[in-house]
Symmetry: D2
Subunit: 140 residues, 4 copies
């Protein structure tokens, strides 16, 4: 299935839907079954030890999967996560942006499944991996 939104349309739609948080994220690349998202690391996401918090990485994975699903099905803001798993494997490197690479594994009528690898910009080591299931609302 081709893309319903291109990279610019996707970024624009995400800004409309999440005006207050999309300052933190940018869609870097988009193909028919992958999306790459940048998380601009800021002071607000730090926890003891000085790295990005787990919940902030969860939010990054979530917005990345949401972007992948929207890019395929179009502007459906009410698409929701039903299940998510995340493994935290390494401390992100201080002060570096995070890069999330999402791969679409299944796009069915009712459910989409993606996985995501997160690393610090400029590094190869995986900081976190996640898989998520999104529920797709029935067509109106």
């Amino acid at each position: 299935m081709v893309l319903a939104l291109n990279r610019d349309e996707l970024q624009t739609f995400l800004v409309e839907v999440f005006p207050e948080v999309m300052d933190l994220y940018r869609v870097e690349a988009l193909t028919e079954d992958t999306v790459q998202m940048r998380f601009k690391v800021g002071a607000g996401n730090l926890r003891p030890g000085g790295t990005v918090s787990g919940p902030a990485m969860f939010a990054l994975a979530d917005v990345t999967v949401y972007a992948m699903v929207l890019a395929k099905i179009g502007r459906e803001a009410l698409t929701v996560t039903t299940n998510a798993t995340i493994d935290f494997m390494r401390k992100p490197e201080g002060g570096r942006d995070l890069i999330a690479d999402c791969r679409l594994l299944k796009l069915g009528r009712a459910l989409a499944v993606c996985d995501v690898l997160i690393r610090s910009d400029g590094s190869e080591g995986i900081v976190a991996r996640s898989s998520m299931t999104y529920s797709i609302p029935p067509r109106r």
Copy 2:
């Protein structure tokens, strides 16, 4: 194993560690293997559709498990999540606080495992369930 911190000590320590976010949370109850946390729902956590976002519920589950582990092992701020799973099952009710009930399933030397049920204050229906594994740092 008895508790290393009582409810007030736990709340105080969480405020020290997360000064900016603990305005949103309050430890409601604590036993040897359960903790109940209240999330004071605010405008900053809303997403399309007007309910608490998935990442905000993930953060609630995470802080609740962290509180449970700290209550058992004492003031070890560097304890970290290694794995987390969350199922989102119902929309939270608008404008109501969320209540997270955590149960400690295992406390080993290196790992602790907990699960969490989240519901809207005053309702029975489960909004989300989560299980999390925390890594416990070796004693210095």
Copy 3:
């Protein structure tokens, strides 16, 4: 919602659907939102170290959730697992049956979510916990 099948009807249906494996399992108890399943531990399920294997515990959790869902919706053999998570926490005790306690957390039109705690018969310590999502086929 009341039960579509009682305990005996459920056991009978499981034996019809899984004739070769239901020698290993028995429905011990059933309520409107819980089911208890016994796994009769046999030599075929042992792995290095002499305990029940992880995959055998996964299969126990899976059949228990399947039983819970069928008890609610009736004889729908094609109901399938879409997502499962399992944490292995302790070694089961050698030679003891395993007891799985399942709780129904959500029964929607399209998805059911349950969690399961597994322990050795006669012990309190949790051996494994699991949560599973089942897809419910549309009514014909």
Copy 4:
């Protein structure tokens, strides 16, 4: 880190450890951070609808991750799964072998994390994806 076992040594060790089940599996390929395992589909693994059961796919993912970890750390039969997640996405094709591709994401002192994609031999569509954490026993 290089491999502790090559492909033939790995196959031989798995047969020693699981004599009764390794008739079903074969290590197809091994690199420093990937392993490919074939599951020879047989009548014993079918469930209603005629496809490989979920627990059989879980067992395939589990043995594949176990093989990956052993290939790195050597003959340590007591390495155990601590956490596993699996998403079932499509029905496997009837009568075809399953191919599991495992990628090592982290190999720490105490924990290893891998993910696995499973497909029917000769097809591209992903049947299931899994991620697993293995606990590595301390060196004696």
